[in-house]
Amino acid sequence: MVIIEPQGLSALFDALKQKGYQLIGPRVVDQAIIYDEIGSPEDLPVGWTDEQDAGVYRLRKREDARYFGYVVGPQSWKKFLHLPILKLWEAQRDGPSFEIIPNDEPVPKMAFIGVRSCELQAIAIQDRIFLQGDFVDPHYRSRRENIFIVAVNCTEPGGTCFCASMDTGPRAQSGYDLAITELYDAERHVFLVEAGSPAGETLLEQLPHRPATEADIQQAHQLLEQAGKKMGRQLETEGLKDLLYDNLEHPHWQKIAERCLSCANCTMVCPTCFCTTVEDVTDLTGETAMRIRKWDSCFTSDFSYIHGGSIRASTYSRYRQWMTHKLASWHDQFGTSGCVGCGRCITWCPVGIDITEEARFIRENPVT
């Protein structure tokens, strides 16, 4: 582990750019901290933070000049790895037959700056979905293969965070090339940096740094220890899967449906939600066609449409499907929880429906 000064960030960014990486990181846009293309450390949200609660997000000025003094924003890294809209292929009519023209647009090499621990776990979950088993998604793979990840440990969890409950944070455990802990107090402002891969190791050596002292490591450890206790939300996961399976007819689902807009925001912002739909479009002449893939959601009616109608016509059944998939059947399907506790579905639900509250209600009021 080493210490780099804030100026060291410029060296890091330059080194990544030299290796051909496009830098993607946090910046202030439209009164929020979003992930976008960035050029230099000046683009980072220095001195900004976010206040988050159910259905509410506010950008605020900080008292200090921290680079990473905010938590997770409106959209996750999913939008760079699993594109919201993607042309899969085009087809050109050729007499009685047709020719398929695959989409082989070049994929950029991207360096993600500021990936939080819950987000690393979410990427690991999507890796399992798209890269393992019999059907590998070539589009996800081609993007995923070329990512360099600079993680940031969370020392100040947000109002809707609950990674500590999900065992997915606040400290980055794996899946990064470099991990940074921002150390900030009256005396100093430095970054404790740790390499998590050979590529990270090599890069770190090129940066101006000094070895970390035991005190530096202790300070980071303490900050993260405290952070784990300051989560804005909590979710009791003990026996959660069976609890939900046992309560599929709980009257509370109907109560949630009275508030839920079935607007699908929660699924769009969730870093693990992966569902898509495909649209086939033709041009006016019928000579060319295209297949386009778009993010879809279990909150739409078309999502569960099969011959004769939609299986989940009611909001009741849609919300129940979503939440039980996240917290229960995901375990059966993929061997982990589908929720990493990032809190986005709570913050970005326009009416502030809170997955942790709904689960708690069912736990405290089971139907037997």
Binding site: A32, P74, C263, S301, V351
Partner: protein, 261 residues
């Protein structure tokens, strides 16, 4: 491929502002391609030359507001193989359906010097209250890409890709920051059907609901949030009472808040 016979297209106007027909003329680049694929047989906004029916595809703009139009729409239906309504007027009664909440005779006596010559119906109603409609294309005005998609789909015998989910889905796919959550701006996106590619939120405005209610909408839950954000019942009435005021979920919501205010 065997040369297909050019289908005949007609465009009809009822009570409306012509904005949706303009969206068709707005297709500039694509208009030539359209005219190569279809015979534009009846489109007074574009040409006075007309070809007699029957027509393969009729696009109907506007709502029914007069006894004469209530008859004429049946003639249009009889002359059309496929009838597609376009825009908020044709699909929900339009902005002129605001009269449905008042006494229209009072309006005519205020607006016209000789109201006895005005023959108008009490209500402005969507086309599907009068005849069978094959497909409804929403919007005020409609989106030209959606119009092309619908024409494309009917010409190629496939289902149009016109989703009925919320504006939020398009808003999020576009990567917008939610104006409701991050700015505290009331937005009708969560109860409104997609199709505009989240135009207003992309410019930091709340959605005005011009595509009308989405499938399975929940306006009461959204209004509750608007109230918590500081909106009065009157403001909520105004939000739901515009281009799609007479679409049932929006109508019920404005009436509920009108009763309270």
């Amino acid at each position: 491929m065997a040369e297909r016979k050019k289908p005949k297209l007609a465009v009809w106007k009822f009570a409306s502002c012509d904005g949706c027909q303009l969206s068709l003329l707005d297709c500039e680049d694509e208009l030539l391609a359209i005219s190569e694929q279809v015979e534009i047989a009846y489109f007074l906004e574009a040409s006075r030359a007309t070809v007699k029916g029957p027509y393969d595809i009729s696009l109907v703009e506007g709502s029914i507001t007069t006894p004469h139009d209530a008859e004429r729409i049946h003639q249009v239906r009889r002359a059309s193989r496929v009838l597609i309504t376009i825009g908020a007027c044709a699909t929900a009664g339009g902005i002129q359906a605001l009269r449905n909440f008042q006494d229209v005779r009072e309006f005519t006596s205020l607006v016209y010097a000789s109201p006895q010559y005005i023959e108008t119906l009490k209500k402005s109603t969507p086309i599907d209250e009068h005849v069978y409609v094959d497909f409804e294309l929403r919007g005020c005005p409609i989106n030209k890409y959606q119009l092309l998609e619908v024409l494309n789909a009917f010409l190629n015998g496939r289902k149009p890709n016109i989703p009925n989910y919320s504006v939020c889905v398009e808003c999020k796919r576009r990567g917008n920051v939610c104006v409701m959550v991050a700015h505290g701006t009331p937005c009708l996106g969560p109860v409104t059907q997609a199709g505009c590619d989240a135009l207003c939120p992309s410019y930091h405005r709340g959605c005005f609901g011009c595509y009308g209610p989405k499938e399975n909408p929940n306006p009461p839950a959204l209004s509750e949030r608007f109230t918590a954000m500081g909106w009065s019942d009157q403001e909520i009435v105004r939000a739901f009472r515009n281009f799609n005021a007479y679409a049932e979920p929006f109508r019920k919501e404005s009436e509920a808040h009108e009763a309270k205010s």
